[in-house]
Amino acid sequence: MTPTTTSAAINQSLLARCLRHRSFMIGGVLTGIMILAAVVSLFWTPQSAYDITIANRLKPLSGTFWLGTDQFGRDIFSMLMVGAQNSITVGVVAVGIGLVIGVALGALASARRGWTEEIVMRMSDFTFAFPAILSAIMITAILGPGAVNSMIAIGIYNIPIFARLTRGSANAIWAREFVMAAQAAGKGRFRITVEHILPNIVNIIVVQATIQFAIAILAEAALSYLGLGTQPPNPSWGRMLSEAQTMIYNAPLLAIYPGITIVLAVLGLNLLGDGLRDVIDPRLSRQR
């Protein structure tokens, strides 16, 4: 068998395993719906998500307003769709920051060992003292609230998580025979990291990225709820909840829809992450 057909066969069986895995499929469908809603909302929403029409305030569910309207007469369904854009952007950027810097630091720590590793690990220990919300408070206090600042805050929180994970998994790979063989063949530490270490830990990092994505969506919702995240008039799930809370006696349903949307989005990503972990490496699922 040629190498191409082998890797095609592996990919095919991976796909088959994915399709058979229940968590993966449920998570995949939920995440797919969220992404689809965000993409479609770029060029179409049932109504405008921004127009304030007081005449339409607090309308019930109907053919025109699929989930009714809020106290400003805005269409809830359209706001939820545009809100998905917002959550996905924050998730991608925040996980991206954590992934790029964290993996680089973790891989560096693992390749250099010694005091480099010590410094990286102590710094990541230390970042744990600042949960996302605390970094967000500090950043907002000096830069003011906003979506970009919340992405930075959540991203900073993600860095030590990826750094630790990368260093731990990379250390295990460094001890394997084929890496020692590569060293004996005279390859440098940087080249070994790029050619052998990273390809072997990419699976585990992808799984973690899915889970951190879910956490970023939760964190963004919390920051927006507190008024530190996405600013009006851009719709965000968290701010929809804080606006709904002021109407809790008159229109309790307003507080239900955004909440369920957040839960489904986060649940979808978590299930997808769990599913991916099982499919990619069945040994890992047993450790849970």
Binding site: A129, A141, A222, P252, A255, L264
Partner: protein, 316 residues
């Protein structure tokens, strides 16, 4: 043991010290001129100069840092710019709410998690187990502030058993004050216990497979006797680790939940301070919260060594 403790203690002090440096750099050096930040860019230059004088900003940064650090150690956190009272006084008042709330939530979530986790493990692969795991999967996805709003909707708006928010203060009577913390604590604890229950379940399952459990059962100990006397004690280590790590999240959750229930705690204080650009208060509260996380992690480290002496040999 003493070397382990000394090493851990040094790291702990270094981390605390590092936290103060970061907070000072970010909140006092990074913005350039804190006086301008407080008063706004269009402020009258004389007013800015007066405020600089009042806040002692004309002194060199290093001197300011050390006097702030000295203040932190002696409990003098400076004056609040908006309230014009010592920050220590403000913080002390708010801690009387935030600390009991966080502890209450931690206790509740531990109890929930132990019961659910042990139940699921002892009914492994049965309906009860799937139920607990389903709850846990869902619980991890639920934002605690939304769960708080749902609790308000159900218990305050519909049933009218509780108020929808506010805190009467401990002077109004312990029960009255405590009652206003029940919904917030449940909101925090339920979501938190979803994570703990998973860890409890898997660590109990792990221990159940050990030989000594079979021995205990063989010598005639009942199933529940084995579970509570032998298994749980051995399953504690991973649980304590997760709880320590999760304490930071719980504290962060407390900040948010205080805003959901309009509770005048540290969380509410820091948000008002951000709105009012009261940097002295922001600085003190942030360093206090970070300090609490570091202290809890230190205690967890020490607890490891107490519970499992083997661990101190490895550098965990």
């Amino acid at each position: 043991m003493s070397i382990f403790l000394a090493k851990r203690f040094l790291t702990f002090i270094a981390t605390l010290f590092g936290a103060t440096v970061v907070v000072f750099l970010v909140l006092e050096i990074l913005p350039g001129d804190p006086a301008l930040l407080i008063l706004g860019i269009e402020a009258d230059p004389e007013a800015v100069e007066a405020l600089r004088e009042k806040l002692g900003l004309n002194r060199p940064a290093l001197e300011r840092y050390f006097s702030w650090l000295g203040g932190l150690l002696t409990g003098d956190l400076g004056m609040s710019y908006t309230y014009d009272v010592p920050v220590t006084e403000l913080v002390r008042e708010r801690l009387a709410l935030t600390v009991p709330l966080a502890v209450f939530a931690m206790v509740l979530s531990t109890v929930f998690a132990l019961v659910l986790g042990v139940y699921a493990a002892s009914h492994h692969n049965k309906v009860g187990d799937f139920g607990v795991m389903g709850f846990s999967q869902l619980g991890i996805a639920v934002p605690n502030f939304w769960f708080g709003i749902l609790l308000i909707l159900f218990f305050a708006v519909q049933l009218r058993w509780f108020k929808s928010g506010g805190f009467p203060g401990w002077d109004a009577g312990t029960w009255v004050a405590f009652k206003s913390l029940i919904l917030p604590a449940i909101a925090l604890a339920t979501v938190q216990s979803a994570i703990f229950a998973r860890v409890t379940r898997s660590s109990v399952l792990e221990v159940l497979r050990e030989d000594f459990v079979r021995t205990a059962r063989a010598k005639g100990l009942t199933r529940s006797g084995t579970l509570w006397q032998h298994v749980l004690r051995n399953a504690l280590i991973p649980m304590i680790t997760i709880m320590g790590l999760q304490f930071a999240n719980l504290l962060a959750g407390t900040i948010i939940i205080e805003n959901v229930f309009y509770l005048p705690g540290l969380g509410k204080l820091v948000f008002q301070a951000i709105t009012n650009r009261d940097m002295e208060v922001v600085k003190s509260v942030v360093v206090l919260l970070a300090g609490m996380v570091v202290i809890i992690n230190f205690i967890v480290d020490i607890l490891y060594a107490v519970i499992d002496p083997r661990l101190k040999v490895h550098d965990v």
